[in-house]
């Protein structure tokens, strides 16, 4: 493709961005696909000269009982904390905020957003202290005469799912607040005059109008939750055993704790593919805004 000199001058400002993205984003993705077919490791002879081992890592993945378990835990984590938890909480909060008085509205939205703005490691400490066997939750239950279990040990997935809903709901709340503000009031008023109650108005008028925001938000929260590492790592370390090891935790442990970089890379590749599939769906949904 022959570029005129004017055309060339126009694309020059793009060069730094292209170089950075190619080196640090595209490079690792390509390497991930390549590395997953090798026996790369952190120490030993394979660290210097990784050998091509074909599909062995993937065969090992399927044979390893930890991998299907981890995949399942990831699906449970993403579905319950993002798809259901954050989205339902978010739309509920957005709706409630609209009918609240101003001081309540600003208190509630500030508190919810604060949990989201906090650095992830601080949020993780706060959640850890809350769910610890001697933490705030069990103190409150104790006040009611109930002896709470050791949440982080006996129900680690429940604890990290609730923590992730707490941490991430603000995002959905903000997206849905903006979406609800765009719904023409005439529509809901007309439905109200026709005798529709609150739930009916939500299901038949509001939700269909904001369906684009819903699909966009579902994709974004799914992708964000897919890559949650710090929250789980600090709260449970993926344990006890591997009972809360989602894919990011498993990939990290295989690659760095057990020095199986090739194997960890194979897990990473699976995550990249899952993320890519979701991204394609998301970009298709957004297409009219790009053009």
């Amino acid at each position: 493709m022959a570029l005129t000199s004017r055309g060339a001058a126009r694309v020059v400002p793009l060069a730094p961005a292209v170089v950075l993205l190619a080196l640090f984003m595209l490079g690792p993705v390509v390497w991930s696909f390549y590395g997953s077919f090798t026996n790369a490791s952190l120490t030993g002879p394979a660290a210097l000269n990784p050998e091509w081992i074909g599909l062995d890592n993937y065969a090992a993945l399927i044979g390893d009982p930890d991998f299907p378990k981890s995949l399942w835990l990831t699906v449970v984590f993403v579905f319950l904390s993002a798809v259901v938890g954050q989205n339902v909480m978010g739309i509920m909060l957005a709706g409630l905020l609209r009918s609240a008085v101003k001081p309540v509205r600003s208190i509630a939205s500030t508190v919810v957003v604060a949990a989201w703005v906090l650095p992830e490691i601080v949020a993780a400490f706060a959640a850890y202290a809350f769910f610890h066997s001697e933490g705030t939750l069990n103190t409150m239950l104790g006040g009611l005469g109930i002896t709470g279990p050791d949440w982080l040990y006996s129900t680690p997935m429940l604890a990290v799912i609730i923590a992730n809903i707490w941490r991430g709901t603000a995002f959905s709340m903000m997206v849905y607040s903006a979406a609800l503000a765009e719904v023409p009031p005439e529509l809901t008023e007309a439905a109200q005059l026709d005798g529709a109650n609150g739930m009916q108005r939500l299901a038949w008028v509001t939700l269909p109008v904001i369906r684009r925001s819903i699909s966009t938000n579902l994709m974004l929260t799914t992708l964000q939750t897919l890559s949650v590492f710090t929250l789980i790592y600090v709260m449970t370390g993926g344990g006890p055993g591997t009972d809360s090891s989602t894919l990011p935790i498993l990939a990290y442990q295989e690659a760095f704790k057990f020095a199986q970089v090739g194997y960890g890379t194979a897990i990473a590749t699976v995550m990249i593919i899952v993320g890519a599939v979701f991204s394609v769906i998301y970009i298709r949904a957004l297409r009219p805004e790009v053009d």
Binding site: P28, E120, G135
Partner: protein, 296 residues
């Protein structure tokens, strides 16, 4: 506004009590909504309130509870150069460095994307959008391997450039949107006076989109400041690690005894981010300004 003024009228007419602002049923739902919100706010604030209260508690436990004795001893205990100031400085260098690089590169890239109709511009934007979706945790294992190959492991500049690259897709996206809202007619005037595209960008466009630039910079800064996983994997020596990583090491070493100090450290480390968020809401005039931003 119209909804708020017409609804009570409808209600009042129906219940026959003209003059009353809202019917009893509407009032009951409003009270219920406010109560539910307050309960949710209380549940949301509890885990965070622990950090605040424990940091001033002389004998803090893991549970929220009002301290017997309020003290600032936790803060003075951790305020040593190697424990707090150096990690906070490292965090600042990482965040400001990647913020500055990202803003410069994003502005350069956004200019042709915003101003020219290019055949591949659309595809570039698609790739950028795709990049915003890529889960960064997923690529950390291959990134580690890449850093070993490039001999960049444990290098602050290497980590800064990597963090800049990961926030670039969202930054280009935001910057292009801000730039699109600057009218092109002003640049055309500069062009007729013989200014080059880059001069027009620097003298005409940038001054007009200063708030947008500030929002993008703060967005990248906040993300980098809060990032734990990337420096945790890429920086090995304690004297190079930012606060997010050193606070985690502190948690591992003393976390099981010195809860008050852990909380004080967390508070100190979180404060700049909270301040910057308030600043962004002031600049952009909306509390939900960063809603379009994907968190790392």
């Amino acid at each position: 506004m119209t909804a708020q003024t017409t609804a009570p009228v409808v209600q009042a007419r129906r219940s026959g009590t003209v003059g009353q602002l809202a019917g009893p049923r509407v009032k009951a739902t409003k009270v219920a909504a406010n109560l539910v919100l307050l309960v949710i706010a209380l549940l949301f604030v509890l885990p965070m309130a622990w950090v605040l209260v424990a940091s001033f508690d002389a004998s803090a436990t893991l549970s929220f509870g009002l301290p017997d004795a309020v003290t600032t001893a936790n803060f003075s205990a951790i305020m040593t150069p190697e424990l707090t100031w150096l990690p906070l400085w490292n965090a600042f260098v990482l965040s400001a460095g990647s913020g500055a690089i990202t803003v410069v590169v994003a502005v350069l890239a956004a200019y042709p994307l915003s101003r020219y109709r290019m055949r591949f511009g659309k595809y570039f934007l698609y790739s950028v959008l795709f990049g915003t979706c890529l889960p960064i945790t997923a690529i950390m294992v291959p990134v580690y391997a890449l850093f070993v190959q490039l001999n960049l492991l444990d290098s602050l500049p290497g980590t800064i450039f990597f963090m800049a690259a990961t926030s670039l897709p969202m930054a280009i996206w935001m910057t292009k949107n801000f730039m699109d809202s600057v009218p092109i007619s002003l640049e055309e005037a500069a062009w007729t006076e013989g200014a080059s595209a880059m001069q027009a960008l620097r003298r005409v466009v940038l001054p007009l989109m200063r708030p947008g630039i500030a929002v993008v910079f703060i967005f990248v800064f906040v993300q980098a400041w809060g990032n734990f996983f990337v420096p945790f994997v890429l920086l090995l020596s304690p004297e190079k690690q930012p606060a997010a990583v050193s606070i985690f090491a502190f948690f591992g070493q003393y976390g099981s005894v010195a809860y008050g100090q852990l909380a004080a450290y967390s508070l100190l480390y979180a404060a700049p981010v909270l301040g910057l968020y308030v600043l962004v809401t002031r600049i952009s005039g909306s509390a939900f300004a960063l809603a379009g931003a994907v968190k790392g």
